[in-house]
Amino acid sequence: MSPVAVWTRRYGAMIRNAWLVDLQYRASIVLWVLWGVTEPVIALGIWWAIAGDGAVGGYARDDFARYFFGVMLVNALTIAWDSWQLDRWIREGDLNYRLARPLNPLHESLADNLAYKVRGAGTILVVWLAAASVWPAVRLPFDPTRWAWVALAVALAAAMRFFISYTTGLLAFWTTRATAIMELHAGVGMFLAGRVAPLALLPPVVASVAQLLWFPYMLAFPVELLTGASLTSDKLLRGFAGQIVWLVIWIAAYRLAWRRGLQRYGAVGG
């Protein structure tokens, strides 16, 4: 069988199992979707009140609405919880049998990641379509070129967030606090990735620090592509270059952490 067929079947089987397990926990799916909607809706509520009938940093009420609906969707499409799973595998010894199989455990995490993204983003899309049917402000213009750029930016952001989460989870080889590090990362990301406010509204010092890091490329850049007005080539070039550079850096960090971590692996039990 061709390698493509082998990998298609592997990913098909892993994603299928992830969905079958999901169906056993329907209540938790509802909770996760609520969580995915609540945060941007609260942020929107606050900025809606602040903006009033005017504009803040160039954002009027409708712009905020479009921005935070964009955050909701792009976040669901790029989110990565894999560090929690990996941390558990390493600390509780569930990595053992995974290491004895002819499949890097990264693929299982990636398949799970794709499975919950399809589920989460699918539901968010329904929420958005329902909102758009009654609220013109959150409708998007039909623009295939823009959407193609957005798809690419979302794919790169999703890959980067996956490797960030997976690599942070690998820190469990060294510390029992890997998930706390991920929490810290998520906390910083609330501000620097544009989750609670568009980057244009951050204090200039904070915004310039953010530009030096990977955070804006995780979320804000694809959201602005999706909802923003202008698609200048300078903006596209800088955005995609930043995404690619940081993705390469995080993949390198993953490879290093995986190789070193395995050598260090104590494996539970003696």
């Binding site: 069988m1 082998v6 079947r9 592997r10 098909g12 089987a13 892993m14 199992n17 079958l20 397990v21 056993q24 926990y25 010894g93 569930d94 053992n96 049998y97 995974r98 290491l99 004895a100 199989r101 002819p102 499949l103 395995l262 050598q263 692996y265 104590g266 494996a267 039990g269 003696g270």
Partner: protein, 330 residues
């Protein structure tokens, strides 16, 4: 024939953090961490031929599982080398992993919320098993292990014994020639233990598989293994047949007696050490070399209804072997 499994001077050291008890100890460890090196496995060497079933024995923390994990390519040895199925486990990659199965009695690969068959399907995709082969193997393993009514129930609804049988089936679908089993009968009831032993024996006979297993149950060892490796505090103390170990370690034999009327403990004590006396049953311990002669004298001197000469319980022999290793260590 080349060995299926070979270990040469295999060693593994772990560096563990040492911490004094209490809050002060915790704070001190934060600023000045101290480490201690635990030598889990020390220069262990052995070879296992294809088709052999070998039991790895040792008390908790002796280094059995650590050795198994090095052989399976999970742990990186601190020193020494291994060859398993012709590969270095650490660098053998997928080709090596297709040739082994690792079953850990206290960890399961079955997906908890789904029927075992779903995990089998996943393994079919991971190991790239053709559909027809897969169906035939599931049927075969299901027959051997008695899983017909079990495979479509969610794993969480299965008994421990059923789970372990499914676990073994999942691990053997790709038909590996080498099996590493860590406590495969842990916590199972007697009939489930027996079923698993019969299955492993049948699997070996059918496919010539090499099996290295650890267990705390001596029945696993006596029923399955032609050879034992005894390890304690990381050192290999014994490598050979179980019977030879008994002959070497056990310096005594047990005479199990059913006595006629009127025999007192005092009269019996003339012939050896009375280990138990509950008329009409008694157990007498005598030096190994004198067992036959003492039996003859007993039969001539006392009214004996029945007499059998036994080795001491295998658990006692193993305990003595561990103790001998411990003393050598001090």
């Amino acid at each position: 024939m080349a060995a299926a499994i070979a270990a040469q001077q295999l060693s593994k050291d772990f560096r563990v953090k040492v911490r004094d008890p209490g809050l002060r100890g915790a704070v001190a460890a934060l600023f000045r961490p101290r480490y201690r090196t635990v030598r889990a496995v020390r220069a262990v060497s052995f070879e296992i031929a294809p088709g052999e079933i070998v039991a790895f024995l040792g008390p908790n923390g002796a280094g059995k599982t650590t050795t198994l994990k090095m052989l399976a390519g999970l742990l990186y040895p601190s020193a020494g080398s291994t060859r398993v199925a012709g590969f270095d486990p650490w660098t053998g990659g997928s080709e090596f992993k297709r040739r082994i199965a690792l079953v850990l009695g206290n960890r399961q690969q079955l997906v908890w919320d789904l029927p075992a068959l779903e995990t089998f399907q996943l393994n079919r995709a991971i190991y790239d098993i053709p559909r027809l082969d897969f169906q035939a193997r599931v049927e075969e393993l299901s027959d051997l292990l008695g899983l017909a009514d079990v495979l479509d129930k969610p794993v969480r609804q299965l008994s421990l014994g059923e789970r372990m049988k499914c676990e073994l089936a999942a691990a053997l679908l790709h038909r590996p020639p080498i099996l590493f089993l860590d406590e495969p009968t842990l916590g199972l009831d007697v009939s489930a233990q027996d079923a698993i032993r019969r299955f492993l024996s049948a699997y070996r006979d059918r496919y010539g598989a090499t099996i290295l297993l650890t267990s705390h149950y001596m029945q696993d060892v006596t029923a399955l293994a032609s050879r034992v490796l005894i390890i304690n505090r990381g050192r290999l103390l014994y490598d050979g047949a179980l019977e030879a170990l008994v002959a070497r370690i056990a310096r005594t034999k047990r005479l199990e007696l059913v006595l006629g009327d009127g025999v007192t403990e005092q009269r019996l004590a003339v012939f050896g050490t009375v280990k138990s006396f509950r008329a009409p049953n008694a157990v007498l311990e005598v030096p190994r070399a004198e067992a036959a002669a003492t039996s003859a004298r007993l039969l001539a001197a006392l009214p004996v209804v029945d007499l059998s000469i036994e080795d001491p319980p295998i658990e006692d022999v193993i305990r003595q072997a561990f103790a001998a290793g411990g003393e050598a260590e001090e």
